[in-house]
Subunit: 257 residues, 2 copies
C-alpha cells in the first residue's frame, strides 16, 4: 500500500510520501515513492506514485530515459523542458498511456487491474506553483484554492484532519505538520503504510530544494509528534461536552415490551 | 452510504448509526439504520445495517415477521428467543442467506453485488455484553477486549481516532464521545454519511434502554461538539513540534543539477 499527499498553499507546496510496498503480507519492502527533479532557478518538479510497483517503475523508467537521452538531444521532449506544468502533466500522462499499451492486456488476462496513480507538482520560473493528479487513463486534475490538496493511495484515514483544518491560507510550516499528521493517522490505521517518510516543503519562487527530510522509523521527531498527537487527541476527547441523554427513549425506537 | 459503529467497553456498549442513504446523488434519503429490541430484564438486542437498502430491508422484514408470528407461536425461532448472542447472530446470518437465495442471482444478472453487512450487539441476562459483525455470506465475527470496536459502511475516515484512543477500558461516557467524533470525522469527509444520528449507550447488566438519543442535523449538541472538536484539532496541530529540516538535501534525492 501507499499514501502520498501534496498540499498547496499560498507560501508553497508540501509533498509527503511513505515508503512501504507490499505484495501480500510476505513481501513488504521499502520503496521510496517521491522523486524530485530540479534545474535550479528554472524549475522544480516533484513526482509521487502509487499503485502496481511494476507499472510505476515503468513510467519512471521511461521518464528518466528521456531525461538521459535529452543530454545529447536537447530538443527531445522530457519532464524538464515542457512549457507549463500542465504540459508536464500531459507528458507524464503520455508515459502512463505508453505503459498501458505495453502491459494492460497482459495484466488483464490474469485478472490484474491497470493500477497506477501519480501526483506531480512544483513550479516553473515565472509561473505559479501547482499540483496535479494523473489518473491511470493518463488524464489529469489540478488542485486549486478551494480544493488545495491531492492524495493517492490509502487516502481516507488521513483526510478528515485535512478537511477540518488545512486551507490554501495555511502557513507552509503548519502545512508540513498537517501533512505529517495525516500520514501518521494513515500509518496508525493501515500497517501497509509506513516509514521512512519523504517530506519536501517547497517554498514558492525558490525554484530549488531547500527543505527536504527523510523521516526514518526511529526518528526522534516522529516519535515525539506521534506521542504528543496521541496524548493531545485523547485529552481533547476528554474535554468534549458529554451527550445530554434524555431520561426516556426517543421516538423512532422499535421496542418489544 | 452508511456508517455504523459499535464500541465494546467494560461498562457496556455504544451503538451509533447515521441515517443517510443514497442511490446516486439524486436519491438521497433519510433511513435510520439502528433498531433496538428489548425484553426488559431478559435481553437487549441492537441491530445496525449497511449495504443495499432493499437487501437490508428484506433481512429486517424476515426478522420482524418471525417476531410477529412468534406472538401466537412462542417456540418459533426468532431474534429474541435464542440461547446466546452467538446463536442470535447465526439466526440473523440465516436470514441473510435466505435473502441471498431470494435476490442474489437477479442482482448479479444486472451487475449488482450482494452488498449487506450488519452489526448485532447487546446482552442476554446472565451472559456478558457482546458485539458481532455479520458478513454478506451470513457468517460472523465477535469483537473482544483487544479489538473492541466494529464498523460497517464508510469505516475508514472514523477509524484513526478509535485506533488512537479507544480501548476496552474506556469509560462508557467517554466511549460515546469517541463514537460521535468518529462519526463526525466521517460526515466531514463523506457527504453521503449524515444526520440524524442514532446513539444508544447500553450499560452492562441494565437489560433495558436507558440512554438513547437521536441527534438531528440542527441539534445544539452536535453543533457544539463539531465546533469544539474542529477548533481543538487546529490548535492541537499548531501546538505540535515543527519538523527540524536540515540545511541540505538528504540522501536518496534524484537531482539534475
Amino acid at each position: 500500500m501507499t499514501y502520498c499527499l501534496s498540499l498547496l498553499c499560498q507560501e508553497g507546496i508540501v509533498f509527503i510520501s511513505d515508503s512501504r510496498t507490499n505484495a501480500g503480507v510476505d513481501h513488504v519492502n521499502v520503496r521510496p515513492k517521491m522523486r524530485v527533479y530540479t534545474v535550479e532557478g528554472d524549475r522544480l518538479i516533484c513526482l509521487m506514485t502509487s499503485g502496481n510497483l511494476s507499472l510505476t517503475q515503468s513510467v519512471v523508467a521511461l521518464i528518466e530515459e528521456d531525461l538521459m537521452l535529452a543530454k545529447n538531444e536537447p530538443t527531445r521532449p522530457n519532464l524538464m523542458n515542457q512549457p507549463t506544468l500542465y504540459e508536464t502533466t500531459r507528458y507524464v500522462g503520455a508515459k502512463v498511456r505508453q505503459v498501458d499499451r505495453l502491459d494492460r492486456a497482459a495484466l488483464a488476462a490474469d485478472g490484474f487491474g491497470f493500477n497506477i496513480n501519480l501526483l506531480i507538482g512544483g513550479q516553473i520560473a515565472g509561473q505559479p506553483p501547482e499540483i496535479h493528479y494523473v489518473y491511470p487513463q493518463g488524464n489529469s486534475l489540478k488542485a486549486n484554492r478551494e480544493s488545495p490538496f491531492l492524495q493517492i493511495g490509502e487516502s481516507k484515514y488521513g483526510k478528515p484532519l485535512l478537511d477540518r483544518g488545512f486551507t490554501f491560507e495555511t502557513r507552509l510550516s503548519e502545512a508540513v505538520k498537517f501533512g505529517i499528521l495525516s500520514m501518521e493517522a494513515t500509518m496508525k490505521s493501515n500497517i501497509a503504510v509506513g516509514p521512512p517518510l519523504d517530506v519536501l516543503a517547497y517554498r514558492a519562487d525558490s525554484l530549488c530544494i531547500e527543505k527536504r527530510y527523510r523521516i526514518e522509523h526511529d526518528d526522534p521527531y516522529l516519535r515525539e509528534i506521534q506521542q504528543a498527537w496521541g496524548n493531545g487527541l485523547v485529552k481533547l476527547v476528554e474535554a468534549m461536552p458529554s451527550l445530554p441523554f434524555p431520561g426516556t427513549p426517543q421516538p423512532g425506537a422499535f421496542e418489544i415490551t
